[in-house]
Symmetry: C3
Subunit: 355 residues, 3 copies
């Protein structure tokens, strides 16, 4: 199909060509398609695809004892669903996903809730090569009552359709390096003052973790093609490279970065079983591509600690690192300052933990 | 196990040998086993196995805005479940599945509904080789209230147990080449007059499609063994060839034709996002076998258009074609009139679309 | 990580090293972590992973006609979930799973129920090598009302952390070779007096089976990596060897024995479609390891029969045998008394069957 045929409104082409760099405007709001109702089926699949054992997400009884009406959809599952909706409009013609910032989890998502996502373009900068540019968007997911459940900023490098299209005025948004602890949103009613450490699986409280401490999560999982595709489809993320061996040179599917995030988070149970909720993602880098056959291990480092106003709840700022094929936690970066070989993911997040 | 031991009532054999050609009689009604209650778990799995994004099936809110009580089970999932029940009685000893006709979707299936299927033998014709014959059945699936949800005709070539068994009188039923538009069943209450095109993902209305138009669905999916087996088991279709590498010469599992149907239908979202419901399947041919490792692409052709009596709803008659390994839509047939190499599926269906 | 660092309370190590042989004491009660709420999502996944067609577990209507409020979670799914909870405390450092006994299914588990498991140490015996010992535990799973749903004894060979630790006094519990028929627990209200044999798929009643009869279940399934991992994660069983190709010499994942149990049970539908409920597991041996690529077949032998006090319900004691790669049922053991090559599983169970 030629570019002309792929342009909506031309030649009768009906399929979606996605947006190119010159299609974005500062202040433009993209209402993404395909609202998605979540169910206990999604919860079961999340648990079947990731070795997750966090009690708040496994047990309605544990959730009720923690002040919630029942166990919600896993926070990262909500993130993947909300994020997936942005792909057809924001990153279908992306060359690279460059980063995340200011991601806050604003309210739990429960089975029966319907998630929709919209994005506002908050930054644009054409690259000097004239064929690509960087687009910054702030995306917000809401439930069926219009209440925001998740917000985040993201920037991607996108191809131009036409290298001759004029460059827009550069606007580079000022994004925080981390969500301030005071801005963390605690789910309404959440209360860890009667927390059951035996049911949760580990005795370690917020006070037992020290800044700079590193935790080896020990366990490893070797990735299979069917598993990452089942997960990625569950999020309705249909980027071709994740599903089609013909879509990339080399004939291998590229694994959705969110799959590595969820795997690493689930592995972090072993040592961080009480880091029950992800309250924010401060930053995230996918340091290297991941393929089927890679064996994923994870380690965490405590970056910061903060108290919260909620009963019995503290916040840990954690660096969660996924590496491949080497079970022995090594350095994050080499002497050259670049990520060490084997590092796949460097995620900076806030987690809620019992005091 | 010898044939004698495999015959029910003989030698105490307890396992099911299936029916052979001479076991069928015109007018015979087969009440198929294993009623099946569907759930949100089935819906989640369908979305995890097929890259489906049709809004009516993704969102309870979209379904309610379209006049339904909530989002039903995907129409093809209902078809696969209803169809799967017929396998142990109709096609356990089949040599080939020859065709479908007159398939109509009569009512949505919701989580909590229980589906049962029965079939009536409507045609029999022994082949001249004396070892096989063609059996035509009309199958009807009902819900727990006895209301029909799906009906279709199907014919298969079945082995004889005993080549010496006398041939029955030949009865070949007269089946329509297509369901008449006036006979399409529209789900009670379905109303597209306030249809949200932005939520659905594409702006194209019924009036935007023209007879003869061809739509390239662009995306491709490479098939994995685990995925087609998980799907096929979900439909309780236990034909050996789909699961057991020892069941066929060549040591490869044959992929259930319904898996290709659902993959092609999900891929057709890209260009036919508003073809929300399958109202009928007029005909279907599995032109070539499909195996793991094949990359499936799809294209559609608009064959016909019809108005309906329902508010805001038109019908598109579509040819949905699945091909393997070639992303460029080519001809359906070669100069010899046979399906072109790489064509896997040629499905003729009616879909409901907003005016 | 050194042993010191891995010891809880030492060096700040936060991850779970599991218990070693010298950590167990007779009478000790282990309250296992991660209560688990089950849902229709789990039911859908069970049906997608195992070719199960038993009507009581497929249809709410069939279950209601049998006196239950709806179709429960499959009995073996409940077993796998309850069992999975014991792994981090009992068998993380196991060398071998040696056996099961006295497993009784005490009450159905329904979607919405939350399962927790606790174990009591009932036996200890150090091996003469001084580096390992056998631990016997009796485990009980309860629902959110504290009602027991499942109980079983199990023994495993566990490594010592420190070969110099003193041997405990040997206590070897006296376990029954089979659950007495009078001790079988029938689900409250279960009534097979109006049993629908057509819906169930086979005509064979309790009275049609004779002690000593052998049933070939005919069908076979070739195992895929993704499928056994999805299943094993669903049970939150995180033993490394099932997921990580680097965790074993030879680079192959070892398949969870419970996966073979559920596969064999599902295959047994063909010939035992009316053996609806597993009421007890008398004994179980995993005769050989199972790997992806193995094709699993099953056969059963009727070991005993018993009446029950429940309406229309009899009990069959069955030996359920899973073998690999050979579709022709052969002898269970060779002339040397050892399991024949290819035998994977020898399971002795009681099943409830209509009279």
């Amino acid at each position: 199909m030629t570019d002309d045929a792929a342009t909506p409104g031309k030649s009768g082409a009906k399929n979606n060509p996605g947006n190119f760099f010159e299609d974005f405007r500062i202040g433009q709001v993209l209402a993404h398609a395909t609202p998605r109702t979540v169910s206990d089926g999604d919860r079961a699949l999340y648990g079947a695809l990731y070795p997750s054992r966090f009690a708040l997400w496994s047990s309605d009884e544990f959730a009720r004892a923690s002040g919630l009406p029942r166990s919600p959809l896993e926070d990262l599952a909500a993130f993947h669903i909300a994020f997936g909706k942005t792909v057809p409009d924001v990153s279908l013609n992306a060359v690279a996903n460059l980063g995340y910032a200011e991601c806050r989890f604003l309210a739990p998502v429960y089975p029966g809730d319907t998630i929709s996502t919209a994005s506002e373009v908050i930054g644009l900068k054409e690259n000097s090569n004239g064929t690509t540019g960087v687009v910054w968007v702030r995306s917000t997911a809401v439930n069926q009552r219009g209440a925001p459940v998740l917000t985040w900023a993201r920037w991607v490098m996108v191809r131009k359709r036409d290298a001759g299209a004029p460059a827009p005025q550069s606007v580079v948004p000022d994004l925080a390096t981390a969500v301030a602890a005071a801005d963390l949103s605690i789910p309404a009613g959440l209360d860890f003052s009667a927390y059951d450490f035996a049911a949760a699986g580990e005795p370690h409280r917020w006070g037992d973790y020290t800044v700079g401490e590193r935790i080896d999560h020990v366990d490893g999982v070797t990735i299979e093609e069917a598993e990452h595709m089942i997960a990625t489809r569950l999020w309705q993320n249909t980027a071709k490279v994740h599903f089609n061996v013909q879509a990339r040179d080399g004939g291998r599917r590229l694994i959705y970065g969110g799959h590595v995030i969820s795997l690493a988070r689930a592995l972090s149970f072993n040592g961080l079983a009480n880091a029950q909720c992800v309250a924010a993602i401060n930053a995230g880098a996918h340091a290297a591509p991941c393929f089927a056959g890679d064996t994923i291990y994870a380690w965490s480092e405590v970056l910061d600690k903060a108290e919260t106003a909620a009963p019995g709840i503290g916040a840990l700022r954690l660096r969660l690192v996924a590496v491949k094929d080497d079970p022995t936690p090594g350095p994050l970066r080499g002497e050259d300052g670049k990520y060490a070989p084997g590092v796949l993911l460097d995620l900076d997040l806030w987690a809620l933990t019992p005091l």
